[in-house]
């Protein structure tokens, strides 16, 4: 049975539709990534699924419970980490953990061991007497995760958990998520970072409240029709402009590399070389490559050619 299931889930704020007819399902023990730019509706989805925002229409179930009719029992089974640091800055690491353990009525027997384990795997043990407000960004997020896990939830909702966190701490954070996955915890994570999305089992691409695609990472990449050609040359910015006006397919500039989505690889190759040579630009390399999520994103999103 699916741990998370939504059916035409919609939320409007006045005239604006924040989430439009979202239908998706997430299996038990899966890491599902909700991917999209800022304002896509990721936070709204999180809040709807955790029962703190009422949907305008549509249905959703988490762990078999309805998010509106059974909002309170759901709360015993889920952990949630909001996008903004939601813990008390004037309480210490340990006090925050203890407070949440009490709110979830974690039995006092065995609680010490649970808290010690959480502190250990979040590497927060040396800082347990420090005020939460004085932690670094990465440590704050790990404390947030530890507090969300204090009652051993079945489903974990993480709203952009690594936003503004350095790459090393991000890797630590994901190491923890993989450990949790081994304990069959279902993880629903939202992110605007595409490299992070690649770490998920399945992803959903969300844009302006609409789900554009929902599949495994490879499946989503397969949605890209045609072959992706990577061009390395001098004056890449100028070259990209030339290729764009040559109308050879979608062109995206990534630093010193140009990605061109060609319908036919061989014809595309000749056309690119020809167009650049005509302008006196020499090609250093030109090869077909595996698309990244970023390529899919830039080609799927309306007006997304970066």
């Amino acid at each position: 049975m699916d741990t998370i299931r939504t059916l035409a889930l919609t939320r409007r704020f006045g005239e604006q539709v924040a989430l439009d007819q979202l239908t998706l399902s997430v299996a038990e023990g899966e890491i599902f990534g909700l991917v999209g730019p800022d304002g896509a509706g990721k936070t709204t989805t999180m809040r709807l699924l955790t029962g703190i925002l009422a949907p305008s229409s549509g249905e959703a179930w988490v762990d078999g419970l309805h998010v509106v009719r059974e909002a309170e029992p759901i709360k015993e089974r889920i952990g949630y980490m909001s996008q903004r640091f939601g813990l008390y800055p004037d309480l210490t690491v340990l006090e925050n953990l203890d407070f949440y353990a009490d709110l979830y009525e974690v039995p006092t027997s065995g609680r010490g061991a649970r808290v010690d384990r959480l502190l250990a795997f979040s590497n927060l043990a040396p800082f347990k007497r420090r005020l939460a407000g004085n932690l670094s960004g990465g440590m704050k997020q790990k404390l947030g995760l530890a507090c969300a896990l204090v009652h051993t939830p079945r489903v974990l909702f993480l709203d952009e958990p690594t936003n503004g966190v350095d790459p090393v701490s991000r890797r630590d954070f994901w190491r923890i998520l993989y450990q949790l996955q081994q304990e069959r915890v279902t993880i629903f994570v939202s992110t605007a970072y595409l490299d992070e999305a690649e770490r998920c089992n399945r992803i959903g691409l969300l844009h302006q409240g609409r789900l554009l695609a929902c599949d495994t990472v490879d499946g989503v990449k397969g949605l890209l029709e045609g072959t992706l050609l990577e061009v390395r040359c001098d004056t890449p910015r100028r070259a990209a402009g030339i290729l764009r006006s040559a109308d050879l397919g979608r062109v995206a500039l990534f630093g010193d590399r140009i990605h061109v989505l060609a319908g036919d690889p061989d014809r595309g190759r000749t056309a690119i070389e020809g167009a650049l040579r005509a302008e006196g630009i020499s090609c250093h390399s030109l090869a077909a490559i595996e698309p990244t999520l970023e390529d899919v994103f830039t080609s799927t999103l309306p007006g997304g050619d970066a």
């Binding site: 029962g51 703190i52 925002l53 009422a54 709360k75 939601g86 813990l87 407070f99 009490d102 709110l103």
Partner: protein
């Protein structure tokens, strides 16, 4: 349920007491304020600066002037020699009153006529002026009585023994009409209201503003547990402050405590129900702490003005009088003055207690009803 509530309370107390500035605001400021205000707030009028314009310069005129001076109510600060100076002393505020005695004062007095003395007052401070005026009226009446007695004994040869009607007045509950006895307990009501309304008005909105509310909403904590957890700490702090201020009132300012102190604490408990209810209500309707603070101030000012703390309710227009029935301060003032100065018990104060109970429960229920565990 109880465990969660207890934990919520522990958390609130840690947060409040960990902050040194908060500790000062909660426990040092009220004490300092009651001491300062206790000395400063007084409507007793003594030593009114007075100028004298004596055109008569006779023993009789000097007699009347010394009668004023000797009363302790007036201090002669200047003797004026010209008409123009009257204006000058009143304009500069050097004197609040001028006593003018025209030429021929003694002569008229020695005959059988009525001598005129003019008493000019600076009416810009109407309160002081009216008190000074009544002092002056009493002084001249006393002076008249002594003159009449002299005349009577001179003409009839016997001493005037008794007045036709002798009014013997005693002010009960505050024999010396010491305004401090009246005001200091009122200051207590005011300070406790300021602390509890402002703190509780910021409490819930603060969690919303710093983002902790969202995290709390996804926990199984009940609405009631959360609201109680946010209210009880301020109630406890309110009680501690009342106890501190009451001790200062009794032992420092020597305001008598004639009643049974537990009655005062019962009244306080019911009063806190209302102030915290108002505060929580403000907290549920405000989006930011700043908004909550402003709204709290807008509540406080009329609450003080229309409580009977300074201005008697009986003097207010009927519509405003009706409004004061919604003001918790109105009832609490009656209770504290009743307990401190009159030694009243429940058999007299029960209507006030009942009113506070109703008002407080209504406010708290309204606030709790507005509080939701969801966002909008």
């Amino acid at each position: 349920m109880l465990e969660r509530l207890v934990r919520m309370l522990v958390k609130e107390f840690i947060q409040v007491l960990r902050n040194p500035r908060m500790r000062a605001v909660l426990f040092v400021m009220p004490v300092a304020q009651v001491i300062i205000i206790g000395y400063a707030v007084s409507t007793d009028v003594r030593h009114v600066p007075m100028a004298v314009y004596d055109l008569d310069r006779t023993p009789a005129s000097r007699d009347l002037i010394s009668w004023f001076e000797g009363s302790g109510c007036f201090d002669v600060v200047r003797r004026i020699a010209s008409e123009a100076e009257i204006r000058e002393v009143l304009d500069t505020g050097e004197a609040k009153a001028v006593l003018r005695l025209n030429r021929g004062f003694a002569e008229t007095l020695a005959g059988a006529g009525s001598a005129r003395a003019q008493f000019l007052l600076d009416g810009s401070d109407s309160n002081t002026a009216s008190v000074a005026l009544s002092y002056a009226a009493n002084l001249s009446a006393d002076f008249n009585r002594s003159i009449l007695a002299q005349r009577f004994s001179r003409t009839a040869g016997v001493r005037l023994e008794a007045e036709p009607v002798g009014l013997v007045s005693r002010a009960w509950f505050n024999a010396n009409l010491d305004s401090r006895h009246y005001f200091v307990p009122g200051v207590l009501a005011m300070l406790v209201a300021v602390i509890t309304v402002i703190l509780s008005s910021m409490s819930i909105v603060r969690e919303r503003e710093i983002g902790t509310m969202e995290q709390i909403m996804v926990t199984p904590i009940g609405r009631l547990e959360f609201i109680l957890g946010k209210t009880i700490p301020f109630a406890v702090i309110g009680f501690v402050d009342v106890a501190l201020i009451a001790l200062i009132t009794v032992f420092w300012f020597r305001v008598p405590m004639l009643g049974f102190p537990p009655i005062l604490f019962l009244g306080t408990a019911l009063y806190l129900l209302s102030t915290l209810g108002v505060g929580l209500f403000i907290s549920t309707v405000s989006a930011t702490q700043q908004q909550a603070m402003m709204t709290a101030f807008f509540f406080m000012l009329p609450a003080f003005m229309l409580s009977g703390f300074v201005y008697p309710i009986a003097n207010m227009p009927l519509v405003v009088q009706a409004l004061t029935y919604l003001n918790p301060l109105r009832y609490y003032l009656v209770i504290i003055r009743g307990v401190f100065l009159k030694g009243l018990g429940l058999q007299v104060l029960w209507p006030q207690m009942l009113a506070l109970t109703l008002l407080g429960s209504a406010m708290l229920l309204l606030a709790a009803g507005r509080f939701r565990k969801t966002m909008s």
